[in-house]
Amino acid sequence: MKALPSLAKALAWLAAVYAAMFAFDSSGLANPYWLQVFELACITAISALGLNVIYGFTGLFSLGHAAFYGIGAYTAALTLKSLGVESQPAFLCALLAGAAAAALVALLVGVSTIRLTSDYLGIATLGFGIIMKVVFDNADSFIPRLGGARGMTGIAKMTTLPWAFVLLGGSLLVIRNLVHSSYGRALVSIREDEIAAGAMGIDTFRYKTAGFVIGCAFAGLAGGLYAHLYAFLHPSNFDFFKSVDVLVIVVLGGLGNMSGTLVASFGWVFLLETLRVVLPPEYVEFRWVLIPILLVVTMLARPRGLLGIGEFRFLRGGAGR
Amino acid sequence: MLIIDNVNVYYGKLHALKGISLRVGEGEIVSLIGANGAGKTTVLRAVSGILAPRSGKILFKGKDISGLPPHKVARQGIAHVPEGRGVFANMTVRENLDMGACTRRPGREVDESLDRVFSRFPRMAERAAQLAGTLSGGEQQMLAIGRAMMANPSMMLLDEPSMGLSPLLVEEIFHMITEVNRAGATILLVEQNASMAFSISRRAYVLETGSIVIKGDTDDLRNDPGVQSAYLGDL
């Protein structure tokens, strides 16, 4: 009976964190601006963790992550709108619907393209991202509520700090537990050497697809949170360049390093915003000149990721050590 | 000809060569043997400039070449036949050979080198237009040596030329090495197959975990009980 305590412990932690966050959130101590930025960082981290499962752990080069983020966002927003109730359980349903939709589409895309290797897979997913952007741009012609290029409005603001934080914690927990299990090792072995993995009895096609689907599901989940944080969806939020942003985060954090992804996500989002705050007014336009310079310099200094291969303690280790 | 003096090489934190010194005289064939991971390949890589030693000197014909980039070392007249052959798989045999002469001005002398390679390895002449990647292992090894000959080097570094080759080819390769040597190239030979290596070289060094532990004439080494049991087997 060791499992129960372990699971209970994790849940208790999450509950405690939720309570703390809830108290903090409602205390009014936090500046709503930094709160929103923090929530965005959590959401970005969830999505980036998803890409880390895909690219960092399974080794599949995906340049279309934002499309799945978008699918999750639009699905969740549409679900909650259709449910017509703005309650917490309905929100959870909407988020799950977003994740499920992203996973389902990922399954279809994965089954057909996952055979491609490295850069060719990257291009196929990039292509898929562009196709999805065209679909989002014209979504109003089949579902008017989605708004198409004019954007989807009237989305309830449901995402709160506890939601974002607890779902990030939950995602970390799920991914950590998965990675430190035989299933995770199967994914990683495919990344390391697909032929050898196959020769050892691992169904590479199935696991690659699974890794892709799981990662995209997290993107979908994050998308749902995003939709209900910003209450407005526009196709330009889900274009190729947003996919590149997530890729940058994952690589900066270090492939296959969850702590790094976490640090890089928060670093990226906060860097963008902090520059907005600290740059003197006449240098506002230098914000996007500095960011790429910082990016290049960081990459040159830490080519294998911010944290190398180190993980935070709570993300380390499986049961078998 | 080649003097390696107290050279230290690191891979990150790993101290791969711990103050190695060895020398190869003009016209000699010298073997370097040792267990897996002893650092044999590392020695050759340090000489040819792929790795820069952290300290120590490498002198070639009296000139300090330590720390020079590989292409400059190559231009000094050192040709390195790397571990695993390293032929350019998507180029033809002929192009591979031309690559060997890329430090030289095209002209009569290069043509002569080519003739020499072709006459020594008639198989290469037959296969001149074949892509190197489709050659058999032994043929690739021939090509790698032929390519090194194209530079008309005064010194050749060979890294485990017999690895993965059939017994017949191993014999051929060793024969080839002696011929190359006779044609004027000094040779530093790294081998696992110590008995074969000893059979063509007069002097040898034994490397263990980054240090030279034994050196001497092959005739003496052959009778050294330690060397015998570890590298030669009971004859």
Partner: protein
């Protein structure tokens, strides 16, 4: 007869890598596959393990037709292998290399893993114990946390065999296990292969160019040339076969390491 291949043919573009190869393995034997470079030995392994699909021919294992199945299916039927160019999971620890190979028989489901149920914990423990046992047998226990890429060449070869055994095979295919090893290392490897066969009740087929190993431990040899089997028999018979001498061994008696200096 645990494995039987008939009429295997495989072309790569214009190259006939295999040209009607017949091959069998008796249960529990240790057989050797030799032949000149490029004669198709590795290709035979690749076809048996499903990495290539043969153009023609069948492979039967215990009466299952396996030619054309995906590699993981064949592996699950009980064939494991090592590779000529070592293919370890280079950035994984020694232990994880072996643990990954236990995956096909993982005793818990993904949901258990995510929730860390008892099944998961017990399963991990069981896998851990198996791995420990296997690694101690291969004397790799001390290096279990090292990344595979940091092992010495010989250790890497051994780890690859350990990993192959982790999938619980009946048949083990070894592709040049002694390549790049020196005399004493080959010697150790030979003892080790024999012991592994006993301990894990294996049938072994190995490819090797080092005659000392081949002649020393193989009970039966198959010789290939130009994608065809040209001879078969005991080491003693093969050593004398003129075609094999012509194509492969050369005129020095096999295993002889005396001078070639003229």
């Amino acid at each position: 007869m645990i494995l039987e291949a008939r009429g295997l043919t495989k072309n790569f573009g214009g190259i006939k890598a295999l040209n009607g190869v017949d091959l069998y393995l008796r249960r529990g034997e240790l057989a050797g596959l030799i032949g000149p470079n490029g004669s198709g030995k590795t290709t035979v392994f690749n076809v048996i393990t499903g990495i290539y699909r043969p153009d023609r021919g069948t492979v039967n294992m215990d009466a299952n037709r396996i030619a054309g199945l995906a590699p993981h299916r064949i592996s699950r039927l009980g064939i494991a292998r090592t590779f000529q160019n070592i293919r370890l999971f280079r950035n994984l620890s020694v232990m994880d290399n072996v643990r990954a190979a236990y995956h096909p028989s993982v005793p818990y489901g993904p949901v258990s893993a995510v929730c860390r149920t008892n099944r998961y914990l017990d399963g991990e423990k069981a896998i851990g114990e198996n791995v420990t046992e296997l690694l101690s047998f291969f004397s790799l226990q001390d290096r279990r946390l090292e990344h595979a890429k940091n092992l010495s060449y010989g250790d890497q070869r051994r780890l690859e065999i350990a990993r192959a055994l982790a999938s619980g095979p009946k048949i083990l295919l070894l592709d040049e296990p002694a390549a790049g090893m020196n005399h004493s290392e080959v010697e150790k490897l030979m003892g080790f292969i024999l012991e592994a066969r006993k301990r894990f009740s294996l049938t072994i087929l190995l490819i090797e160019h080092q005659m000392r190993l081949v002649m020393g431990i193989c009970e039966r040899l198959v010789v290939m040339d130009f994608g065809e089997v040209i001879a078969e028999g005991t080491p003693a018979e093969i050593r004398k076969d003129p075609r094999v001498i012509e194509a492969y061994l050369g005129h020095r008696p096999a295993g002889d390491t005396s001078e070639v200096r003229d």
